[in-house]
């Protein structure tokens, strides 16, 4: 780690990632990616168990009337950390929820998206999509002429009626390791070195991101 001579520019680089660090990475990826990334259910479960355990320990220590000032102090620090972890968990889930609602009808119609969502998320996406369609029908569409009622028209030069992830959107990507070459839209190849930062359309690095070779920053 960081003790080697010159000022360490990249601390916490060699160390193994903890679950919390992994979640923070997934949180940032999710925030920056235009598409919905595979859900991290196992990781979330592990972290939430840990949070629960820490909270229980805090409760136990608190119940003890003869705890010293030093104990109070540790309790306060442990609680602070619990709140920090909860914040990241909450923000991660809300980010996904936002995308799920935005793309609900696309998700409902696209089986490949299903495996990236948890059971609860998928259920929500489908119900939300149904709800929106029902609402559109009830409020407006049913009073329109038959041929204008469709929610799936493909009008030339107009955006699709089913919003879907814009994979052309550029993202800032940071290589976590030397990456396999990818093809850029101008036809040339891009081979990212470890630590390299690039701005490039999302679809170019999508596979690298799913393989955890890069992260979004």
């Amino acid at each position: 780690m960081p003790d080697a001579g010159a000022p360490h520019i990249l601390p916490q680089d060699a160390a193994e990632e903890t679950s919390y660090q992994q979640l923070m990475k997934h949180w940032m990826n999710e925030r920056h990616a235009p598409d919905i990334l595979p859900g991290q259910e196992v990781l979330l479960g592990k972290l939430l168990d840990h949070v629960r355990k820490q909270s229980d320990d805090v409760q136990l220590l608190r119940a003890d009337p003869d705890s010293s000032e030093e104990e109070h102090f540790r309790i306060m620090l442990v609680q602070t950390e619990i709140e920090r972890v909860k914040f990241v968990v909450r923000s991660y889930i809300r980010t996904r929820l936002h995308k799920i609602e935005k793309f609900a009808r696309f998700i409902a119609a696209t089986p490949e998206m299903h495996e990236r969502l948890s059971k609860a998320e998928l259920e929500h996406a489908k119900r939300y999509a149904r709800l929106v369609e029902y609402h559109f029908n009830q409020t407006v569409l049913q009073s329109l002429p038959e041929e204008q009622r469709s929610l799936e028209d493909n009008v030339p030069f107009m955006p699709s009626m089913i919003p879907q992830p814009d994979k052309l959107r550029p993202v800032f990507v940071h290589a976590r390791q030397a990456c396999a070459p990818v093809r850029l839209p101008d036809g040339s190849a891009l081979t990212m070195q470890k630590g390299q930062i690039s701005l490039t359309p999302y679809y170019v690095i999508e596979q690298l991101l799913l393989r955890n070779e890069v992260e979004l920053v």
Binding site: Y20, P185, I197
Partner: protein, 187 residues
Amino acid sequence: MALPAPLRASVTPTELELIASEQLVEIVPLVAMERTAFISGAYGPLRPPSKCKVPIWMATNLKLKKKCRIVPPDWLNVEFLEERLVQETTGESFSEMPFRFAEVAKVLIDTAPDDFPNPDKIRSLLKDIREARQAKSREGLSKLDHSELSLPNLCSMEINEIRPFFIRAMGVLIDIIKDAQPQQDIA
């Protein structure tokens, strides 16, 4: 809404500070504490006056209660920053800085100015470095095309600053190319 509108386009500087605050910093504790298991790992034991490494959030927490002194990281001092400023103003490329230097420097200097030998000088150097680098990222915009822009040594806070504009600009270039060659399937 699930995610408030201001958070959708980008992350906020405070969120970046939250992430940066997981990095470790050395402190000189003024109180003793047993080794304690946290979610991000076990820290301690704190035994004054020996140094100990803890996450920045913990260091600032202790500092605010006057229970530790923070040992400045070895890149956060006048000499190092002066040297970087020279590199920054003479060289064309971005000089190498810790990826989250802006966040770490702000959090540490704001909570513990008395632990730095010359906090005002450090602040003004950081500001100069920031400005020199900002000018360079603006120049980088002229190299923008529709496929890829490499940004060596750019730091987290700087990326966040240029993000909305660069993404929008590249998006426009992508649209132009897409419309120019519709027969080619680029997605």
